[in-house]
Symmetry: C2
Subunit: 266 residues, 2 copies
């Protein structure tokens, strides 16, 4: 790793912070800050040097990764602004990109570089390693994000894709907005048979299981902080309403019971 990516300030040590810690290569030092005192166990591999540090120390690294809920992006940027060094690359790794990128532009000093990152994977999909998994990069200010993307591609086999925050959120409205909504609805049902599974049902339940244990903040970001998701979800809800009415009408038409004549008002 080149010098400017050898020391990484990690702000937020949740599921994604732990994933970074698990995969950080030897020679990389992770300085992690988390506002919560019980930010989970720190059990990285021995090759990864991870320390719990203050926010100021994390913000002083040449690469700063915001891995906190997207709703905290603006406030964190304002908090770390005094400690950031000129030329630092600040990236976020949230599930939406329009809002956090706008928050970073509005609240970070003009002399730091900025990029939005969205690793299209989580602890579940990365269980077998990172090779072949996708990373969306939204370069926003400066050129370092391109170099970081190239390093992640070469070092971990990640498939990197460049996009604007708008293009990212438009695709994710369907990819995540609909998938996570369907998963939540299916997971809420009382039944969960496994004996007579069809192949399509097994695939659906695999998809459901990949996201049903996600942190609720992930669902909230996907469903509430993506400017395009309401439209796609409304289309789904409208289609569901239409199907419900259609099925009810056809079930009513099928029944052998004769409709009772209306009793006149007495």
């Amino acid at each position: 790793m080149p010098a400017d990516f050898q020391q990484i300030g990690l702000i937020g040590f949740g599921a994604f912070g732990r994933l970074i810690a698990r995969h950080a290569p030897a020679g990389v030092r992770l300085l992690a800050y988390d506002a919560a005192s019980d930010a989970g166990e720190l059990s990285p591999p021995a090759s990864c040097r991870l320390s719990r540090v203050s926010l100021a120390e994390a913000a002083s690294c040449p690469l700063v990764v915001l891995a906190a809920p997207v709703t905290a992006t603006a406030a964190i940027c304002r908090q770390i602004a005094p400690w950031l060094r000129p030329g630092t690359l600040v990236v976020d790794v949230g599930s939406v990109k329009v809002q956090p990128v706008a928050d970073m532009i509005a609240n970070l000093p003009a002399d730091v570089e900025i990029a939005g990152l969205h690793p299209l994977f989580g602890p579940q999909s990365a269980a077998d390693g990172l090779a072949g998994l996708r990373l969306v990069v939204c370069p926003t200010r400066g050129r370092k994000a391109f170099r970081l993307a190239a390093l992640l591609k070469a070092g971990f086999g990640l498939e990197t894709q460049f996009a604007t925050p708008e293009d990212h959120d438009r695709e994710m409205a369907m990819v995540q907005g609909v998938t996570h909504m369907v998963a939540r609805l299916v997971a809420s049902l009382d039944e969960r048979p496994t004996r007579m599974a069809t192949r399509s049902y097994a695939l659906l339940m695999q998809a459901v299981d990949m996201v049903r244990r996600d942190n609720p903040a992930v669902f909230d970001a996907i469903a509430l902080r993506n400017p395009f998701v309401a439209g796609v979800q409304e289309q789904f809800f409208e289609a569901a309403g239409a199907l419900r009415r259609d099925l009810a009408a056809r079930r009513a038409a099928m029944t052998d019971v004769e409709p009772q004549p209306c009793a006149a008002a007495f």
Copy 2:
């Protein structure tokens, strides 16, 4: 194949009839009848002897497979009753079991054996062969269905499961009722991105693609002819309605726009 399963009368030559024809072993003769004159091309492997025959000829076989839409079961049973021989095994292969099994009991002669079969696969999932695929068997009258199930297990590697029609339909209300409904709703959306697919989205779309091209009669059978499906689907629709209201309320609470005071009536 024992003599009583070597000659199979196939009533209905749609997607499932063709699947049987493709996999029928050498030595088996298929006598196929379809009410539609354009019942698709007949292109079985050379080892499979398939002939287009009259309904009477198909019904005269020692094993008769009803592979027509489930709504036609009762009428077909009445039609074939005069030609069926004593001891014949009549099976259906529909996606629901309570109604067609009741239709067979009510409309077939007392001296034929009866079983409901549900192969939990279709042309899509059987593309790579039948081994490991599941077949639900509802033995209803006589013992031949057990022997047929054992032969299908030994000959094709199918995983056979025995169940009552009620147990079958109760599981399928979720397995197929929900999966096919979700697939139809997701397939109806305008968006279909592929560039930034997550693993869970890819699994969901695989499930969607397995069933979206099914014959509409299959969806109708699953959604309208299973006595338990309305309850499960209503639970899904209720959950969707609740989620829609919850998301709308939270989006409204998030907006920075101050609510306008109501204009007094003028």
